[in-house]
């Protein structure tokens, strides 16, 4: 009799049995995680280990077999080339400058967006446009804006009397933004900031809106002016979220090659070369897969360490 009752309780239909299985956390958890795990394994882990294998082999596009182990030869060869020093410097410089400018602009933008004012919606939309704009469209826009002959910026400068035969910026009627080393790097930083500001702003805004309004009002009543409130109350409260914003934007910018590819192609010469674009030129354009992989992997240990430190800090600051 007892067996009979147990059998009666057990669902018989396929759907019912599936529903029951899905109620078990182990089954449901595994099922929910599977797509993400598969994605990471297939598109992150596998390419990463192939890259490591390539970097210690002598594989080329013509002979992509990973069969000869050459040790660190590729790394040594890459480091000894002149372009490496420039690319490393540019990668670090462009990333650092971009992140620093982003921090200031994002914090300022967030202070603006955290307030109520007329036309706030419009400002929010305008802020998001660089992020939502297709890359091809923004590339055309920036190439035209920074064009060596037809740049509208130059035209405005000429009209203002700053550029041209009598202007303080020289007799030429053009700045040649992408043709001069420091102007080109500056232009790249500018475009990178323009592209990443929406992301940084959204991350920081989320943190800013989670600061209780009463805390800021309390500081005002306690006699603090705008800058004291900003530096003593708001920025300390934003510390964890700013760390995340730095980490995200830094990783985004340092691994990003499309800005350089679109604007300067690393030129003039290697003056604006960066590691990811150089890796692409070496590995794909010149067909030296092994050296390309070595360049691409060069910053990995540094970035990994920086990411771990940053995340630990953010976690600790957020918990306090």
């Amino acid at each position: 009799m007892k067996e009979g009752t147990v059998a009666h309780d057990r669902p018989t239909g396929l759907m019912a049995r599936m529903a029951l299985a899905l109620e078990r956390p182990r089954v449901l958890g595994t099922l929910m995680l599977a797509p993400a795990v598969l994605y990471v394994v297939a598109f992150v882990a596998v390419p990463f280990f192939i890259a490591i294998a390539l970097s210690v082999s002598d594989a080329t596009v013509g002979n992509p077999q990973i069969d000869t182990f050459v040790g660190l030869d590729n790394f040594i060869s890459v480091i000894s080339q002149d372009a490496f020093g420039i690319a490393l410097r540019n990668s670090l410089l462009i990333t650092t400058l971009t992140v620093l400018i982003l921090l200031v602009l994002a914090t300022t933008a967030v202070e603006l967006l955290a307030r109520e004012f007329r036309g706030k919606r419009l400002v929010q939309v305008l802020f998001m446009i660089p992020w939502a704009m297709p890359v091809a469209l923004s590339a055309i826009t920036w190439l035209w804006l920074l064009d060596s002959q037809y740049s509208p910026i130059d035209w405005v400068l000429v009209q203002l009397g700053l550029l041209g035969p009598d202007g303080p910026f020289g007799p030429s009627r053009n700045m040649f933004y992408l043709g001069r080393e420091w102007l080109a790097i500056g232009s790249v930083v500018f475009v990178d900031v323009w592209r990443t500001l929406p992301l940084a702003t959204i991350i920081v805004l989320a943190g800013r809106l989670s600061i209780p309004r009463e805390r800021i009002e309390q500081a005002q009543l306690d006699g603090a002016g705008f800058f004291r409130v900003l530096f003593r109350i708001i920025i300390p409260a934003l510390a964890p979220v700013l760390t995340v914003a730095i980490l995200f934007t830094a990783l985004l910018v340092i691994g990003e090659m499309s800005t350089i590819a679109l604007l300067t192609r690393g030129g003039p010469g290697h003056a604006t070369q960066i590691l990811p674009y150089w890796a692409y030129l070496k590995g794909i354009n010149s067909g030296d897969l092994a050296q390309g992989a070595a360049i691409a992997l060069f910053l990995f240990p540094v970035l990994l360490a920086a990411a771990i430190v940053a995340l630990r800090f953010a976690y600790r600051a957020g918990r306090d």
Binding site: E214, E217, Q218, A219, L221, D222, A224, R228, R232, I233
Partner: protein
């Protein structure tokens, strides 16, 4: 120490009116409780005084000087929020010193002030802690210390006890009163808890729907309510309000007397009440009943609550009907239409 005055003060958000023409003046050095149900505009009033909101119309003065348009940091008003709003990134010491540093007070003066408040509030052992490591009562003391340290003209408290546990609330209430007696800083104390207001305040301002119904001492509010709202709000349980021919009569629960025990005084009302149930509250009993006879409209049989100030079992039992009387001295009369208080003479004529 200062006198706060408001004149026809109004604040509306779009079509929602939060504060609807408040005229009031504090007495120098008093603790004035602003009492009202939620949504009565009491917090908005406080935020207007603090400068966190600008009034839609009307005027605000401190010691006769208009303060409209003056930013919060220039008003020298200290506020303690319900959440205490301690700065989590600073130690208790830095929290307390923040208002002094913001005002660029000399550091030896800062030290003196810090010692003074830590001694009064007995928080010397907390100074190096972070706010996240404080209990509710400790946070409250630190918030008070931060508010007191710069000797403000005016104190604003927004329900400062409501986030404390019930056990320590009455103790904290006593400490607040003691603190006020020591400092004598004019204080506005917003609360929806009448026990807090009655127990703590020199005077109470009762607000509802953005309007001030009455300002008076706790005793005035209790024995002399200005209208039916105050009568029905103050007291636990509040006044019984019964519709008479041409007025409303208000009777405190403790003012129902058995007709047999009534002293030889002028009687305002005689009711036949059926007792429904009795509630034992320790030092007193509450008697819940239904009026069966004695009111002009016979079909109306409103419920009333009486109070018996004794611990012993009452002689009257449930399901029994008794004659109760209310003396003229104890009764309050209100206008049936406006709800405002009528003088005794007027009622007598009517």
């Amino acid at each position: 120490m200062a006198i706060l005055t408001t004149h026809a003060l109004k604040k509306h958000y779009g079509r929602i009116i939060a504060v609807d023409g408040v005229d009031m003046e504090t007495v120098d050095g008093e603790l004035l409780a602003v009492l009202g149900p939620s949504g009565s505009g009491k917090t908005t009033l406080m935020r207007l005084v603090a400068g966190l909101e600008e009034p839609s119309s009307g005027k605000l003065y401190i010691d006769g000087h208009p303060i409209m348009g003056v930013p919060p940091r220039k008003r020298n008003i200290a506020m303690v929020f319900q959440s205490y709003a301690l700065y989590p990134n600073m130690t208790v010491r830095d929290n307390i010193l923040f208002p002094l540093r913001a005002r660029k007070i000399a550091s030896d003066e800062q030290k003196r002030q810090l010692e003074w408040v830590t001694e009064i509030l007995e928080i010397a052992d907390l100074l190096d802690r972070r706010p996240t490591r404080l209990s509710g009562g400790q946070s409250q003391r630190v918030a008070l210390a931060r508010a007191m340290v710069r000797t403000p003209d005016l104190f604003l408290f927004d329900e400062p006890l409501s986030s404390l546990d019930a056990q320590i609330r009455s103790q904290a209430r006593g400490e607040l009163r003691e603190l006020h007696d020591r400092t004598r800083i004019t204080t506005l104390y917003v609360t929806h808890d009448q026990t807090e207001a009655l127990g703590l305040a020199d005077r109470i301002m009762v607000m509802e729907k953005g309007i001030v119904h009455q300002i008076g001492t706790p005793q005035q509010l209790y024995y002399d309510p200005a209208d039916t709202f105050v009568a029905g709000f103050i007291g636990d349980p509040p006044m019984n309000l019964l519709q008479l021919e041409n007025a409303i009569i208000g009777v405190r629960p403790e003012h129902f007397h058995l007709a047999s025990e009534a002293p030889g005084k002028e009687i305002a009302l005689e009711l036949e009440i059926e007792v429904e149930h009795l509630e034992f509250l320790g030092a007193e009993w509450l008697i819940y009943g239904v009026v069966r006879r004695g009111l002009p409209q016979q079909h109306q049989q409103p419920r009333v609550i009486g109070r018996l100030r004794q611990a012993a079992m009452p002689t009257i039992g449930t399901r029994e009907t008794h004659h109760f009387v209310v003396t003229k001295e104890d009764a309050c009369f209100f206008d049936s239409n406006t709800g405002s208080r009528l003088s005794e003479a007027k009622v007598a004529i009517a």
